[in-house]
Amino acid sequence: MLQLIFYVFATILVASGAMVISARNPVHSVLFLILAFFNAAGLFLLAGAEFLAMILVIVYVGAVAVLFLFVVMMLDIDFTKMREGLQKYAPFGAAVGCILFAELVMAGLHWMFSPVMPLPITGGLGQMGGPVTNTGALGTLIYTHYLLLFQLCGLVLLVAMIGAITLTLRDRPTGRRQIISLQHERKRADTLEMMDLPLGQGTDANGGFLRPHDSYYVTAVPGSYGVPEAVEEEHEELVVREGEER
C-alpha cells in the first residue's frame, strides 16, 4: 500500500517536472512546478519527515512560487519570439544538459550504499528521554551541532535581502510621501479657520474663501497637486527644512 502511494507521488512528481520545462505557457510551467513541490512534500510525509514536508509547502509553495507566479503572470508573452530564442539557445542548453547528465552518471556509477546507517551526531538525542519527534530532532541538531552553518545561512540571506533593497530603493523627490507623525499632530485649529459670517454675504467680506490653514502645506510635497505656487514660495524655507529632516 505504502509503496503504491510512493509510486503515485513519484510518478506525478517526475511527470510534472517534465511539464515544467515543456509547457508552452510560462504560467502553466509555474503551476506544474507547484504540483511538483506538492508531490515532493508528499514523499517527505511518506518518509516520516512531516516537519520538512510542511516547511516545503509553506516556504516554497506559499511564498517562493507565489512570487514566481506573480512575475510570470505579468510577462507579455510573444510565442514567435520565443521560437527564435529556442533555436539560438538550443546548442548551449544542450551542452549544459549533457555536462550535467555526464556528471550524474559519473556520480551514480561510484555510489556505494553503506550497509549500516551511521548515526554519530544523532546519538545524543536518545538522552532527551521520551519519544523524539522529527521537529525536535531537527531543532536539536541545528542549534547544537550545526549552529555555525545555520547562522551563516541566515547571514547569507540577510546580505541578499539588503542587496535587493539597495537595488530597488529609489529616493525620488517627486514621489508622494506621508509623514504620519506630522499628520497625527495636526489639530483642528491648525487646518481650519472658523469664521463668524453675516447672513447672505459669504466669505468674501472676510478676505476670500475658506481654505486650510497654511500649516497644511508644510506636510505637502512641493509641486504636488493642490499646492498653489504662492504658498509654495512663501513657505519655501519651511518645506526645505522638512525635506532635510527626512
Partner: protein
C-alpha cells in the same frame, strides 16, 4: 461484527469519510448562517432590519440565496483559460475545507491529531492565495488581474507576521500540536500575557482573509469586484463559501492560539458544566462578531498604508516580541523542556 469490519481498509476509509462529513456538514451550515449573521449584525449597527422575509427572522434567507446562486447560468468569458478559470474557485473552496481536518473542537476531538498541526494550518492558509491569483489571471480581465495582484502581495506580507506571532506562542507551548497548544493554556489564556500579539494576529487575520478594512483585493469602488468580477453562479458561490469558511477558520485559529480553545474561562463548577465544544463555538462566534463589527466600523485602508502596517509596524513588533518572549522564558527558567 461491525467492529471487525471497521478494522479493515475499506472500513477505515468509510470511517474517515464519515468523520470528514461530521466536520464539513456543520461547517457548511455555519457558513450559511454566518452570511445571515453578518447581514443581521450589520443591519443592527446601521439601524436597519436586515433580511426578515424568508422564514422567521430571515432564517431561510441563506438557503434562498444558495438556490438562486446554483440556478444561475455559469458564464465563461471569451479568452479565459477554461480549466484554470473553473479550477480556481474549486481550489479556494476545498482549501478552506481541508484546513478543518486538524482543528480540535474538544480534547483530542479532531479528524487528524497530527504532530505538526499548526504548521499544517499555516501551509494551508498560505495556499489560499493561489485561488485568488489563478482566478485573476485566468479571467483575462484587467480588474480581476489587478485584484489578484493586490491579493498576492497582501497575503504574502501578512503571512510573515502571522508566522512570527505563532512562533512566539509556540515558544511558550513547546509543541506544534494544536491539542498541546490548548492544554498549555489551562492556567491562563495566551491572550492575557501576549495581548499585543493577540491584536497583531487578529488584524493580520483580517488582512489574510481579505476582510474590511483590508478588502483591497475586491475593493468594489475601484476594481468593480476585484479578482472575481468575471465569476457567476456556482463558481462565484464557491468563492463566497470559501471566504466565509476562511473567516471561521481564522476565528478558530485565534481561539486555539489565544483564547484557550475548548477550555472554560475558569476551571470551576458552573463553567465546567458546559461541554468543551460549546465553549469553542462560543469563542469562534465572538471572533466572528468582531470581524463583522470591524467591517461595519472602519473605512478601507489605502494600499500603501496596508503595506506600511504589515512591513514597518507588525513585522518589527512581532519579531521583537518573539525575542522578548524567548529571553523571558529563558531567564525565568519557564522554557518548556522538550518532548518536541
Amino acid at each position: 461484527m461491525a467492529y471487525f469490519f471497521l478494522r479493515t481498509l475499506i472500513g477505515q476509509i468509510i470511517l474517515i469519510a464519515l468523520e470528514a462529513l461530521a466536520v464539513l456538514v456543520p461547517l457548511l451550515i455555519a457558513v450559511a448562517y454566518l452570511t445571515l449573521m453578518e447581514r443581521k449584525v450589520m443591519a443592527a449597527m446601521q439601524l436597519r432590519r436586515g433580511p426578515n422575509v424568508n422564514g422567521i427572522f430571515g432564517l431561510l434567507q441563506a438557503f434562498a440565496d444558495a438556490i438562486k446562486m446554483i440556478t444561475k447560468e455559469t458564464i465563461i468569458p471569451a479568452g479565459a483559460n477554461r480549466f484554470l478559470f473553473l479550477f480556481a474557485p474549486f481550489l479556494t473552496f476545498s482549501l478552506a475545507m481541508l484546513a478543518w481536518a486538524v482543528i480540535p473542537t474538544g480534547s483530542g476531538l479532531a479528524v487528524a491529531n497530527i504532530n505538526v498541526g499548526i504548521l499544517y494550518l499555516l501551509a494551508i492558509s498560505s495556499l489560499g492565495v493561489y485561488g485568488t491569483l489563478i482566478a485573476g489571471w485566468a479571467s483575462n480581465s484587467k480588474y480581476a488581474f489587478l485584484g489578484s495582484l493586490r491579493a498576492a502581495a497582501q497575503m504574502v506580507s501578512y503571512e510573515v507576521s502571522i508566522g512570527l506571532v505563532i512562533v512566539s506562542v509556540l515558544l511558550a507551548v513547546g509543541s506544534l500540536n494544536l491539542n498541546d497548544i490548548v492544554l498549555a493554556q489551562q492556567h491562563i489564556w495566551f491572550c492575557v500575557p501576549m495581548f499585543p500579539m493577540f491584536i497583531v494576529f487578529f488584524i493580520s487575520a483580517l488582512a489574510e482573509t481579505g476582510r474590511a478594512p483590508f478588502d483591497l483585493p475586491e475593493g468594489e469602488s475601484e476594481l468593480v469586484a476585484g479578482f472575481f468580477v468575471e465569476y457567476s453562479s456556482l463558481s462565484f458561490g464557491l468563492f463566497f463559501l470559501g471566504e466565509y469558511a476562511n473567516m471561521i477558520l481564522m476565528s478558530g485559529m485565534v481561539s486555539i492560539l489565544f483564547l484557550g480553545g475548548w477550555l472554560p474561562p475558569l476551571g470551576i463548577a458552573p463553567f465546567t458544566w458546559v461541554p468543551g465544544p460549546l465553549w469553542f463555538i462560543a469563542k469562534i462566534l465572538f471572533c466572528l462578531f468582531v470581524f463583522i463589527w470591524t467591517r461595519a466600523t472602519f473605512p478601507r485602508f489605502r494600499y500603501d498604508q496596508l503595506m506600511r502596517l504589515g512591513w514597518k509596524i507588525f513585522l518589527p513588533m512581532s519579531l521583537l516580541w518573539m525575542i522578548a518572549t524567548a529571553g523571558f522564558l529563558l531567564a525565568t527558567g519557564m522554557l518548556p523542556q522538550g518532548a518536541s
